[in-house]
C-alpha cells in the first residue's frame, strides 16, 4: 500500500500472544486500574468494610437469643445462633457486592475513559472482566475483616483450614458470579444515582428469601420452596458444613436436592449464571457504546 511510515516510528516488536489470550491480559490490566482506584479512595473502602461488621454486631446481639437454631442444643442458645449466622453474613456480603459492580460499571460508562478504552485495540469485554475481577479481589479483604469480627463474637471454624479455605473459595466464586449479574444491570443504568438504588433491589429478596439469617422451617411452604432452590441458600449451607457450624437442618429429614448437595448446587448455579450473564453483559456493552 502507498502509505509511508513516519520516519520516527520507534515501536518495539509486538508482544507474543499470551497463552491465556489477550482477553485475560487486558482484563488484568483493567482490573489493576480498578484496584488502584479503590486504594486511592480509602474512605469508600473504609465504609465498605465497616458495613458488614455492623451487620455482624447487630445480628449477633440484637437477634442473638431470639432465633432458635433447629438441631442445636437449647443451652447453646445465642452462641449457636452466632455460629449459624456467620456463614449467612458471609453469603449476604458476597451477594451485596454485586451492587458495587453495578455502580462501578455505571460510573465507568459515564466517564471519558470508556472512549479511551474503545479507541484501543483491546478486547472490549476486558472492561467487564476487569470490573468483576477487581470486585472479587476486593472482597478478599472484606471477607478477612468479617472473619475476624466473627471470631471476636464467638464464631469458630471446626473442620480445619483446608475445608475452610474451600468455603472461602466458594464464596469468592459466588461473588464473581453475581458481580456479572451486577455488571449486566449496571449497563442498563442511565446514571450512577439510579445504579445505586436499582443495583440493590434484587439483592434483598435474594438474601432474605434464603437460609442466610433464619432457618427455612419457619417460612410458609411456597417461600421454603423458593429458598431451597435459591443458590444463595446452597452457598450458605455449604459454608456451614465446611466450617462445621450448625446447619439448621434436622438429621434424618429429607430436603430438596440443592440442600442435600449444597456444594454441587453452588458450583452448578455459578456455572449456569456465568454462562448466561457473561455473553449478555458483553453484548449489552458493545451495543450500548456504539450507537
Amino acid at each position: 500500500m502507498a502509505m509511508t511510515s513516519p520516519p520516527t516510528i520507534a515501536l518495539p516488536p509486538p508482544m507474543h500472544r499470551p497463552v491465556c489470550g489477550w482477553g485475560l491480559h487486558d482484563g488484568l490490566v483493567v482490573a489493576r486500574r480498578n484496584l488502584l482506584a479503590t486504594l486511592r479512595n480509602p474512605e469508600l473502602l473504609f465504609f465498605s468494610l465497616i458495613q458488614p461488621v455492623i451487620f455482624v454486631l447487630l445480628f449477633a446481639y440484637v437477634f442473638g437469643g431470639a432465633i432458635p437454631v433447629p438441631g442445636a442444643s437449647p443451652e447453646a442458645g445465642a452462641s449457636a445462633y452466632r455460629e449459624y449466622l456467620m456463614p449467612g453474613i458471609f453469603g449476604q456480603t458476597v451477594a451485596f457486592a454485586a451492587a458495587s459492580s453495578t455502580v462501578g460499571i455505571a460510573e465507568d460508562m459515564s466517564k471519558g475513559i470508556i472512549d479511551r478504552f474503545r479507541s484501543l485495540p483491546m478486547k472490549s469485554s476486558a472492561v467487564l472482566f476487569g470490573r468483576t475481577l477487581a470486585d472479587a479481589v476486593r472482597l478478599i479483604l472484606v471477607l478477612a475483616v468479617l472473619a475476624i469480627t466473627g471470631l471476636v463474637v464467638g464464631w469458630r471454624i471446626h473442620n480445619g483450614a483446608l475445608l475452610a479455605t474451600f468455603a472461602f473459595v466458594l464464596l469468592l466464586l459466588f461473588a464473581y458470579t453475581v458481580a456479572w449479574v451486577g455488571v449486566w444491570i449496571g449497563l442498563y443504568m442511565p446514571n450512577t444515582e439510579t445504579a445505586q438504588t436499582a443495583g440493590l433491589l434484587w439483592l434483598f429478596p435474594l438474601t432474605f428469601m434464603s437460609n442466610a439469617f433464619v432457618p427455612l422451617e419457619g417460612m410458609p411452604t411456597w417461600l421454603q420452596t423458593f429458598a431451597s432452590w435459591n443458590p444463595l441458600s446452597a452457598l450458605v449451607l455449604a459454608c456451614r458444613e465446611l466450617f462445621g457450624n450448625p446447619t439448621g437442618q434436622l438429621p434424618g429429614q429429607t430436603y430438596p436436592w440443592p440442600l442435600e448437595n449444597p456444594i454441587a448446587y453452588t458450583l452448578i448455579s455459578c456455572a449456569v449464571i456465568l454462562a448466561i450473564f457473561i455473553p449478555l453483559a458483553a453484548r449489552r456493552y458493545r451495543n450500548s457504546t456504539s450507537h
Binding site: 502509505m3 518495539p12 484501543l120 446514571n191 450507537h291
Partner: protein, 339 residues
Amino acid sequence: MTASANSANSAISAKGLVKHYGDVKALDGLDLEVPEGTVVGLLGPNGAGKTTAVRILTTLLRPDSGSATVAGFDVVRQADAVRRVIGLTGQYAAVDEYLTGHENLTMVGRLYHLPAGWVADRAQELLERFNLADAADRPVRTYSGGMRRRVDLAASLVAHPRILFLDEPTTGLDPRSRLDLWAVIGDLVREGTTVLLTTQYLEEADRLANDIVVIDHGRVIAHGTSDVLKDQVGGDRLEIVVRDRSRLNEAAAALSAVSDASPFVDADTGHVSAPVSGGSTVLVEAVRALDSAGVEIDDVVLRRPTLDDVFLALTGHVAEEEPAPAPASRGRGRGRKES
C-alpha cells in the same frame, strides 16, 4: 493489504456519512478526504457534527449510512485494525482520574499490547515532553485543565499513531496552554503524523491545518486552504462605531475607499464593518479618510476574520449556535465537568 486501493494516499476517507440521534440529524452526508501526512481542520460551530464525525472515524460510533476508511481499513468492518494505527484525543479528557499520569500512560501502552519495559520508558518520555514530569506520580484528579489535556494527548501518542484525531483540543484552555499545545501539534506534524483536527476557531485551523473543511448541520459547506477560504471571507475586518448615526452613509462611503468590498452598515448599533487587506496601514488610511470626511468615531478596530465572518460570507447568515448537547442517555462522556 489491498484495502486501501480505493483511496491510494488518503489517510482518512469518508463518503456520505449519515448519523441520526433520534430526530436530530447530526451528520447529513459528510464527505472527507485527508491525504497522508497532512493536517486537515474540520471547522464548524457548536452542534455542526464535528464530534460525531470524529467518533465515527475512530470506531466509537457506527454510521447510519455511508462508509469511511482510515489507513485503508473500514471503520466498521475492520475496527480493530483502525484502532491499531490511530490516536484519539476527544473533546473531553479520556483519562482515569484516580490513576497517576504515569499509570494512565502505561495502562494505555499495555492495552496496545506493547512490552511493559518499553511502555514505562515511553510514558516517562512523553510526560517529560509534555511538561508533566513533576506531576507524573500524582493522580490526574489533581491536574489543572491544561495538564489534563496534555496527559490526554500524551495517552493518545503512546503507540506512535500514524493518524491522530484531535477534537477541539484547545477549547477551554487559557491562551498560554493553547500556544503550548499548538507547538506540540506542530512537532507531531513535522514528524509525519497525519492529523484531523476539529475546532470552532478559524485562527486555530489557519495556524495548524493545510486544508480546512467547513461544516454546518452535518454537511460540508466549503473546503480549501485557509487562503482560499480567507479570500472568500475577504481578509481582515475593519470595524468602526460612528458617533452621529445620521452620518453612517458618509462613513460607509469614506471606508469603501480603503476596503475590498462594500461596507456593511448596522444602523441600529452605529457599526460599520468592511473587509480590508493590508494590515495596520489600512487602519491609518481609514482613520484619515474618515477624518477628511469629517465623520467622528467612537471606536475603531482591525480584527482577523472569525468563524462568524466565514459563515456570513459562505451562507449569508451568522453561525447558529446550538446549545451544548444534552447529556446523552447512555453516558459517553457528554455533559461532564470539564473546561
